[in-house]
Amino acid sequence: MSLVRHPIPQRLRTVMLLVVLCLLPGTGLYAWQFGVVVWVQAFWCVLFALGFEAALLRLRGHAVREGLSDLSWLVLGLILARALPLMVPLWMIALASFAALALCKHASGGLGRNRLNPAMVGLGIVAICFYQQLYPAPSNHAPWTAALDVKAVLLQQLQLVPRLDLDAFAGATQLAQNEFTHVTHNLSGFGYIAGGLLLASLRVIRIEIPLAMIASTVLLCMAAGHSFQEAVYNLSLGGYLFTAFFIATDPVTSPDTRAGRILFGVTVGTLTELIREFGLYADGLCFAVLAGNLLVPQIDRLVLRMQRPWYTAASA
């Protein structure tokens, strides 16, 4: 029995399960808009994450069953599934999972020791190496994948049929059919906000990171000459809200103190907006988060130097 009066989720596994639970509304909405492909991709990612995690634990000489019991592989799989663009081939999913688990997490010494966010490392490697394949990514304007059934999705992922021409679906068809008036909003964002707020109220994630990130992006977007509506709309594009609430908030790769987390959020938000405005990539979140991760030790030291604890000051 805990002595603490209002215990917040106590055990590692509970924390991980809560994250999974809070990911579900957003993922569900996303699947509702974009079809069964979302679930198939999640299935593959979780499967690969589980397989790599087990193999790597074994390889490093750790107790496999115990290592798997913390469920961190489940969270990683679900997050990676949502971070990767839809309709990427299976081998790319495997590569991203491998990069996330082997190159990032286990190469750094296991759970809690990685400096970079594993999901972002997986996505980053795929995004850098296979730029041609991935982009232009399907836009929110046309949930063109919604019509695909499991069989079609699997054929695409295993690359057994000619690759769908994304451009034709994403842009030209709509232009031809004059469908731009029926803009579909990215509904999944609301799910992520709800899940993120729930996690924040349970103190699993810290709300200051998404708030600082969103505020800095909106302000910078407006400073770049866009209207407020455009700046806010900017947030609904790509994986912004997902990243703000579920990836940048990863406690392992974010700073220790509140002031540090605000600085971190501002860094990530600013970099995202800069990449979106001027960079090569349309989304840019992945590289902004990775850059922020790399700065975490510096941010921590800066805050340690700036914020003196109360007892070091002379008595007032």
């Binding site: 759970l111 406690p251 220790d256």
Partner: protein
């Protein structure tokens, strides 16, 4: 008036003036100070389940003294006194059985009887056996006749009295009160710690409710003798009765003793935090309260000091809480050296097969031995503690959730400290202020990965010093 006291008054006045003069702070720091809620607040800490209601309802009861064997510890830690009795010698209650040097409080027989031998036994709150006088009580509880001592008229006389009457800090540290009084030559603030922020403990609560007048009298006396200008009692808000009783007593005695509420947050009674809450002064790590003009005493210590000063009574008994899984929980006034097994029978707890926690659940430790004896610093026995304490679980990896940073009352980063301790990185440990850690255990109790943070820090502190 001697020139000495005039000088001291001047020094006191200059110190008060110096305190009133606000120091020039950078603009942004002043902004931060305005933004933070109060000068007297500290951040962090945890809200614990109290379990105070188990034992705070009944008055302090005396314990029966039959023909039992007592073991009176001759000291604690590195401070031990020389025994001055022989095996076979008859002693009466209050007789000196151990004399120390100028830095060790004397030890007295807590009842009448015959000295059996001098041996090493387990005190309830010591990890290793300590030297103790084993006494066969005759059950008569005869007191030694002592001449009525006058009130100590000078600080030096008070120091001597405290040393010879065996007064030590009863809050748990067991530091000789005489040294504290001697070190605090020119304090201007007397702070009485009645926070009792640990769950389960109610001994200070009961003491304050039942002996409010004596406490106020003792506080006034100490303050007057040492030239202290302000006296404050700090009491956690979960003890409204104690606070009301003390307020009434202070009003009746027409003194300016202030009764101040402390936040109901563990560790509100930790020394730097108590001083911060009551005075706004900052106790830097490594410095003593005397360095910032504060004399801090625990309520039980103050009560014992009062008995010694006004009645010439040495410290031979203390109030101890019996609580947890037992039939008759409550507080008892128990002679020092009383066997824990007898207390178990008094409380009506099952004789064996249970974990007994000595002291509070946060700062205390399990009973080292079933045949241990009560020492001056044992404050509480929690029987069947496994029912109340969190079960020990194996530690897993740190996921850097930073909850330990949230709860650390000293604004440290336990997770980084832990990593530095694992690396044996002394420079980092120093930079992260390991020396400021008060070992309250808030971080350990909140950690979702069950990492034994406090134990690691204790170990690192000794490693850094070595």
């Amino acid at each position: 008036m001697s020139s000495h006291s005039l000088q001291s008054v001047e020094r006191l006045q200059s110190r008060i003036r110096a305190q009133r003069q606000p120091q020039q702070k950078p603009f942004w720091r002043r902004l931060l100070a305005i933004a933070s809620s109060s000068q007297r607040s500290w951040h962090g800490g945890i809200e614990l389940r109290g379990y105070k209601e188990l034992s705070n309802a009944t008055p302090v009861a005396p314990v029966a003294l039959g023909k039992i064997q007592l073991a009176i510890p001759l000291g604690r830690g590195r401070r031990f006194v020389q025994p001055c009795v022989q095996p076979g010698q008859h002693v009466r209650k209050g007789e000196v059985i151990g004399i120390g040097d100028n830095t060790t409080a004397w030890v007295h027989a807590s009842t009448s009887g015959t000295v059996e031998r001098i041996d090493h036994v387990f005190a309830a709150d010591s990890a290793e056996p300590v030297m103790a006088v084993i006494l066969n009580a005759d059950g008569l509880d005869e007191c030694i006749e002592r001449p009525a001592p006058g009130l100590p008229q000078t600080p030096d006389a008070l120091v001597e009295r405290a040393l010879q009457m065996g007064i030590v800090g009863l809050g748990g540290a067991g530091f000789p009160t005489a040294l504290k009084l001697a070190g605090a030559r020119q304090p201007d603030l007397l702070l009485i710690n009645g926070a009792e922020c640990e769950p389960f403990l109610t001994c200070d609560d009961r003491l304050m409710r039942e002996n409010a007048e004596a406490l106020i009298e003792a506080a006034d006396y100490v303050a007057a003798l040492l030239g202290i200008t302000a006296t404050r009692f700090g009491i956690e808000t979960n003890k409204p009765e104690a606070m009301a009783t003390l307020r009434a007593a202070a009003r009746q005695a027409r003194t300016r003793v202030e009764i101040c509420p402390l936040p109901e947050r563990y560790p509100a009674g930790g020394q730097p935090l108590m001083i911060k809450s009551l005075s706004g002064r900052n106790l830097a790590p490594g410095s003593r309260p005397a360095d910032i003009g504060v004399l801090a005493l625990n309520v039980a210590t103050l009560y014992a000091l009062g008995r010694a000063v006004f009645h010439g009574e040495p410290l031979t008994s203390r109030v101890l809480t019996l609580t947890g899984d037992c039939e008759r929980p409550g507080n008892v006034r128990v002679p020092v050296g009383y066997p824990v097994s007898e207390l178990r029978a008094i409380a009506g707890a099952s004789p064996t097969g249970q974990l007994t926690q000595v002291g509070g659940p946060m700062m205390g430790q399990p009973l080292p031995d079933a045949n241990a004896f009560v020492s001056k610093t044992s404050s509480c026995l929690i029987f069947g503690a496994e029912r109340y304490l969190p079960a020990a679980r194996p530690a897993s990896s740190c996921i850097r959730c930073t909850r330990c940073v949230d709860v650390c009352p000293m604004s440290l980063r336990p997770l980084d400290l832990y990593a530095a301790a694992e690396r044996q990185d002394k420079a980092s440990l120093q930079e992260l202020r390991l020396d400021a850690c008060i070992e309250c255990g808030s971080c350990s109790s909140i950690c979702p990965s069950n990492i034994p943070l406090r134990e690691r820090f204790r170990q690192s502190k000794t490693e850094v010093r070595a």
